[in-house]
Amino acid sequence: MAKRSSLLAYTLSRLLLALPMLFILLTAVFVVLRILPGDPITALYGGRAPPDVVADARARYGLDKPYWDQYVIYIRQVLTLNFGTSLTDPYRGKGILDTIVQKLPGTIELSIGAMAVATTVGVLAGLVGGVNRDKPIDVAARLYGTVIFAIPIFWLGLMFQLVFGVQLHLLPTSQRFSLTPPTQVTGLLTIDSILAGSWPNFVDAIRHLVLPCLTLGLYLSGFFTKTVRANLLLTVESDYAEAAKARGVRWRSIVYRYAFRNALIPVITVLGLQFAILFSGAVITERTFAWDGIGTLLLNSINSKDYPMIQGTIVVYAFIIILVSMVIDIINGLIDPRVRY
């Protein structure tokens, strides 16, 4: 009972702490954007309209007011969850949150797929290496962990595209779908295809997911490999494993029943830590595969100086990161008896 209430307290305190952090982040982003050179309003017209038309447009968006006034207005809007409307093509006039919500499922699908690949490959490599310590296969696993981090994500993606797409013509090399997508329920093409009962659409979505998830997943798996291997070695060399061995329990049993389970516990923690790296990786992966997600949205809006979009996207992403790391901490607390809040 004590643990549950302390867990609740912990959750609440984390959430409360998140709000000021988000606020500071929003302010920082706002300031940075005003420092950035370039003007989205001039770009809208590209020199075609007379200056008074441009000035009028700027005034309509409130961009001619002093920065402090703009900031106050913006914060007030955000507090009512109104992140404003997009300034530049192609989302000009559309609500920021609406656009973000539209693009988010793409990145979610990519992230989940990549994490699945990363955990599978990484944990496998770590376990295999740890169990066969110092044998050639362990050396290979350790080298894999190091080398995979040395490969730039976009190059890995490009090579996959070359091999599987261009040379072998096996898999599509960009975007989320080739067939007309099913009616949108969640935005996740795989789920929506199942809900619509359309097998071709499901296959299409999976085919498009393979290469990007493989790329991002393999890149992230290196971290899992090293951590799992290190933890496995620690567990295997620990006292209770020795004691079990002394009692005559078979080595295989020790490894599978004790060591594996304990070695996997930090995987959850690693998942949480990886999220920031996942974000950077997803942005590059989306660019490489022309994937319609938040990363592409962010890059395009940085290029077009769509202030509300950049501010909104970063805040939403930060919020997601905070939420996910909090959930992972809670899961960690639930499964790891050593953690106390």
């Binding site: 940075v32 976009f154 070359l162 261009v166 950077s280 942005v283």
Partner: protein, 325 residues
């Protein structure tokens, strides 16, 4: 009183005084030589070899071009003998690798082999600026902050942790957009990303060494804070630096390549691996040679630095725990 033996006064420099077991280089080289048969040792030597090879390439490439042994990376090639184009000639665009162009030509008819070699210069320049500046800023600040403690330390930790928590590529991209393109500007962006890392590592080591008895003894004996910091603490912490240096250098290469790929890095037509990969994807999509070779170079250099860093980590860090003055 006459001395019999030739005394080794402090003004003499011997090999031992440079590379002996108590010097900076010595403490790194000795484990490397002693444990060269282990995986860690082998990795360290391979990494060092790769790094030296790349540095040599960076320095020698322009000289080779001057001597005519290497083509100019910014000149287009024409004709059946792959000479530099004259006005009115058709460029040899996207040609497959062959005898006259070892790695083929790119979308503007330039020799990929020379572009790939010259790209080393750009990457190493950015990396050096970034990582050296990060070291120059992060190390002293971490040392001072860890030693002094108190409110200043807490402020520094807060600032550094916030920078560290922010996704590095995004932060670098934003700084790059503000500062503009160019080797130096990207170097600054890299610096900002890695200062927190150097700060953290230095501070952590400082904190643990601060507790040691010999440090307390030195302070009790009246040594000034700066002396304690530099002669005692820094002396021990600094051995951890090459590891971080190599690892952050590896990461810096990747970040710089990523920035160039996204379009924030270097201005064309300077040869740069990330930029050439981005152009290859746009203009030479099915031509494998435009994508393979620049990428392989990135991987080799990064792997070399990673091996160096990780190998040193395994060799040196156990040492750090047992180090005594």
């Amino acid at each position: 009183m006459a001395t019999e033996t030739k005394s080794r006064s402090s003004s003499e420099i011997t090999w031992e005084s440079l590379l002996g077991p108590h010097t900076f280089f010595g403490r790194i080289l000795n484990p490397m030589i002693r444990k060269r048969r282990t995986l860690a040792g082998a990795m360290t030597w391979i990494g060092l070899f790769l790094l030296i090879a790349f540095v040599l390439i960076a320095f020698l490439a322009p000289l080779f071009t001057l001597a005519g042994l290497l083509r100019d990376p910014e000149q287009a090639l024409c004709g059946s003998d792959y000479h530099y184009c004259f006005v009115g000639e058709t460029r040899l665009v996207n040609q497959a690798p062959g005898g006259l162009a070892l790695m083929g030509t790119d979308y503007l008819g330039r020799d990929i082999f020379s572009r790939v070699l010259f790209g080393t210069r750009t990457s190493l320049e950015i990396m050096s600026i970034g990582v050296f500046l990060a070291l120059l800023i992060g190390f002293p600040v971490g040392l001072y902050s860890g030693y002094t403690g108190g409110r200043l330390d807490r402020v520094f930790v807060l600032v550094m942790d916030s920078i560290y928590a922010f996704p590095s590529l995004l932060l670098a991209a934003i700084i790059a957009v503000i500062l503009g393109k160019g080797v130096f500007n990207i170097g600054i962006a890299i610096t900002v990303i890695y200062v927190p890392l150097y700060f953290r590592v230095t501070r952590n080591h400082t904190l643990s060494i601060k507790q040691e008895t010999y440090v307390e003894a030195a302070r009790a004996l009246g040594a000034k804070p700066w002396t304690v910091m530099w002669s005692y603490i820094a002396y021990n912490v600094i051995v951890a630096i090459p590891v971080i240096f190599a690892l952050s250098a590896a990461d810096a290469i990747l970040t710089a390549a990523g920035l160039s790929y996204l379009g924030y890095g270097i201005e064309r037509p300077t040869p740069d691996w990330g930029l050439d990969l981005s152009d290859a994807q746009t203009f030479s999509n099915a031509m494998w040679w435009t994508t393979l070779f620049p990428g392989v170079m990135i991987v080799l250099l990064t792997v070399g630095l990673s091996f160096l860093g990780e190998g040193l980590n395994d060799l040196v860090n156990p040492l750090l725990k047992k180090e005594r003055m």
